[in-house]
């Protein structure tokens, strides 16, 4: 019914819109031209419907050559464009009648046909309303009806369900299938929806860069991939997932694999058997898998296989960015291959064989990845006990014992000359005195804060206590001192010493010091805050 051979059309800029395209459509079949935007689908359709000219090739539609007898071609085809071509300010009926007139049908025939089409597309009650009041789906149906009024042999649909909601889309598919079944109408449709090509058409032709890459029934194309597609979606697209991909490549059940953003597509012999093994590998490697699924390969997989790019177009950017990071600086033969394929017009790398792994899924073959060690965000064991006194790990948010000791050594009581030569000299008050507003002679013990180191019985909490205890042990072993940390808990560590409390949360006041502090209150006999300035 349609025969195209060697069709070539060049843009004024020199780029080829259609490049030696060959296609043949049988009578009574629905063929879907599947491709991304800019692949040449609309141009091909425009040439077939005599709306556009072409530079080279031969086109025959319904037995008529387009160059020699365009009017005969026009009489046997119907065309539904991407934008609905019905006139908004006429009624549905007027649109249909006008089309019939333009096709030189007589009035009676037109009237009968209008009624027939209206009932076929369930537009009868809206027929005499202005098209501006129709919904999008109704306008689409009216557009198809106007293309069918003269009983064409071939119907061309350019993106028929573009912009329709799911329900309208399903219903439109039903109509298209009905037309094909009942009237044996040959339908050529263009689409970039995989589902549409899959479910609606008998055969699918994948078009990219102005050429037909592959043509066949959807089932046959999917069978060519041989097996199931397992899709693993990772949390992060990082070294670990790439290491895992490399490991999986070496597995015997994995035939092929491709990356797409942070999804890894594996083509395996048996999906059900592969999934647990993949998960096992992932768990061992401690790689976070967000989602794993397996299914029969979809048309998108076929698309990727034959054109090197997903129809959503996301694969390329990931591979490139990843390459720049890892292999850009002389990354070996894979980087060169990638650059070669980038510089060519088509996205298909000519050095790749079907089934061969694409560069973005593999690494520099000379580089090996170390087995992943425990990562920072590996779940820690819950803390059930506080570090013991002999704990060697120092919590980073607490004072280093050395610096504390140094600081404490400056205290007058310890023999240092702080705060004598500090800014508080003027007030002749040490922080201890300030904290305890009652002026005391320096010789007097500072009672509340920081605690008097010489007071060893009260079990003061704040670090000054520690060296005292630590100093006891320092005599024994200097190395043991850092372990006598300022960790408050450790001062009450279950060393079996005075305190009845074994584990004291470090961020709370020690009851002893609190008691001491409270003892200073007037009502308890102390003279604070009376002496407070």
């Amino acid at each position: 019914m349609i025969k195209i051979s060697g069709l070539t059309k060049t843009y004024p800029s020199g780029a080829k819109a259609v490049d030696r395209l060959d296609l043949s459509v049988e009578e009574g079949e629905i063929l879907a031209l599947l491709g991304p935007n800019g692949a040449g689908k609309s141009t091909t359709i425009r040439v077939l419907t005599t709306l556009a000219g072409f530079d080279d090739g031969q086109v025959t539609v319904a037995g008529h050559d387009i160059d020699r007898d365009p009017d005969a071609v026009r009489r046997s085809i119907g065309y539904v464009a991407q934008e609905t071509g019905v006139d908004y300010f006429l009624t549905g009926r007027e649109n249909l009648v006008l089309q019939g007139r333009l096709y030189r049908m007589n009035r009676a025939d037109i009237d009968a046909r209008v009624t027939e089409l209206a009932s076929y597309f369930t537009l009868t009650e809206h027929l005499d309303q202005l098209v501006s009041s129709y919904s999008g789906g109704m306008r689409r149906k009216l557009d198809i009806a106007t293309a069918l009024i003269h009983r064409p042999k071939v119907l061309f649909l350019d993106e028929p369900t573009l912009g329709l909601d799911t329900q309208s889309r399903q219903s439109l598919w039903q109509y298209i299938r009905k037309l094909n079944d009942e009237l044996r109408l040959t339908i050529l449709l263009t689409t970039h929806y995989l589902e549409e090509a899959d479910r609606l058409s008998h055969r699918v032709a994948i078009i990219a860069n102005g050429q037909i890459k592959v043509i066949g029934t959807a089932e046959a194309l999917k069978d060519a991939i041989q097996g199931d597609a397992v899709t693993v979606e990772f949390e992060h697209n990082d070294d670990k997932s790439h290491w895992l991909a490399q490991q999986l490549r070496a597995e015997d059940y994995v035939r092929d694999l491709t990356w797409e953003n942070n999804k890894l597509h594996l083509y395996v012999t048996n999906g059900a058997a592969a999934v647990p093994r993949v998960m096992e590998k992932a768990t061992t490697a401690n790689v976070r898998v967000k989602n794993i699924a397996f299914a029969r390969p979809t048309l998108d997989d076929i698309f990727i296989k034959h054109t090197g790019a997903s129809i959503q177009g996301s694969k390329e950017t990931t591979g490139g960015a990843w390459w720049e990071k890892w292999a850009g600086k002389g990354g070996g033969k894979w980087a060169k291959q990638w650059q070669d394929s980038e510089s060519k017009d088509t996205h298909v790398s000519s050095t790749m064989q079907p089934g061969e792994i694409t560069p973005s899924a593999t690494l520099n073959p000379n580089q090996t990845w170390p087995a992943p060690t425990e990562s920072k965000d590996a779940p820690k064991e819950p803390r059930t006990e506080l570090p013991s006194a002999t704990s060697t790990t120092w919590p980073s948010d607490q004072w280093d014992p050395e610096s504390v000791k140094k600081w404490q050594s400056q205290w007058p009581e310890q023999g240092g000359n702080w705060p004598k030569d500090s800014q508080w000299q003027t007030s002749s008050e040490s922080p201890a005195a300030l904290a305890d507003p009652q002026p005391k002679p320096a010789t007097q013990k500072a009672e509340s804060w920081p605690s008097d180191p010489s007071d060893s019985k009260t079990g003061q909490t704040w670090p000054s206590q520690a060296p005292e205890r630590g100093s006891e042990q320092t005599k024994d072993s200097p190395s043991a001192e850092p372990t006598q940390a300022n960790n408050l808990a450790e001062t009450h560590a279950p060393a079996g010493e005075e305190s009845e409390k074994s584990a004291w949360p470090s961020d709370q006041w020690d009851p002893e010091s609190t008691k001491k502090w409270q003892s200073q209150w007037p009502d308890k006999g102390g003279d604070w805050p009376k002496g407070q300035q």
Binding site: T49, L51, A81, F89, L102, Y103
Partner: protein, 254 residues
């Protein structure tokens, strides 16, 4: 081709009759000019040698021609809209003659302009113009209006196909109408013009259209007007522009 033209013409007519507001909208400007300039130059008619009894009698044919200019010069805009909405594609896919697509549009615009001219005529009469109400005279005048309407609608449609965008088309339309108006004897008699302007007017098809309308509508007819000459020039002008527009349209098949 004629059948196609007739059906498409009917389509445009139906749409216009459904929304008459747009046609009335484009009447505002000529009526405004008639009113304002008629009042402004009232006393101009008392200058000795003025070829008509009152200014408004003299100016009326000018306004009628102005109606054509303002009415038909935007005819291409709707063509651009139809191209972008895919309606023209629908016509091109059918075995419709390419010329009839252009011809139907141009005829529709011309007929629309004739209706507007009749309204302007009535308005001028209400303002006191002594126009001849002889139906033959009116028909003759309207024939000139029709031819000129075809000419300017063709120009506009052709420009629309070449320019492919509304903004340059509107600018071109503006550039055409006013200079053409002033380089003719629509407002000022030719004997009152400086010589160089007179020569420029002789190359202007508007000048011939105005004088021929003046010859039939204004009584007594001014000496320097002739109907037949005007008709011939305007018809030639229409023919040339129409052929140009049709050939421009045929290049639409990219």
């Amino acid at each position: 081709m004629f059948a196609d033209t007739w059906y498409l013409f009917n389509k445009y007519l139906t749409i216009t009759l459904r929304m008459p507001l747009w046609s009335l909208f484009s009447l505002v400007q000529p009526l405004l000019w008639l009113f304002i300039f008629g009042a402004l130059f009232e006393n101009f008619a008392q200058v000795p040698g003025f070829p008509a009894p009152s200014y408004i009698d003299y100016f009326l044919p000018g306004v009628v021609i102005m109606t054509v200019l303002f009415g038909s010069s935007w005819a291409g805009v709707s063509l651009l809209r139809e191209i972008s909405s895919g309606t023209v594609d629908k016509m091109l896919v059918a075995p419709v003659s390419r010329s009839s697509i252009v011809l139907s549009r141009v005829l529709h615009s011309a007929v629309q302009v004739v209706a507007q001219a009749v309204i302007v005529l009535i308005a001028a009469w209400l303002m006191g113009a002594h126009t001849s109400w002889n139906p033959i005279n009116i028909a003759q005048a309207m024939f000139i209006v029709l031819l000129l309407g075809i000419a300017f609608a063709s120009l506009s449609n052709g420009l629309a196909i070449i320019l492919q965008r509304e903004e340059p088309l509107v600018i071109m339309g503006n550039m055409m109408t006013l200079p053409l108006m002033f380089f003719s004897s629509s407002m000022v008699p030719a004997s009152f013009m400086p010589p160089w302007l007179h020569y420029a007017a002789m190359a202007n098809p508007i000048e011939y259209a105005v004088t021929s309308v003046r010859a039939v509508l204004v009584t007594p007819a001014p000496a320097e007007s002739s109907y037949l000459l005007g008709m011939a020039v305007t018809a030639a002008f229409a023919g040339v522009t129409l052929a140009w527009a049709i050939s421009a349209f045929k290049t639409l098949r990219s």
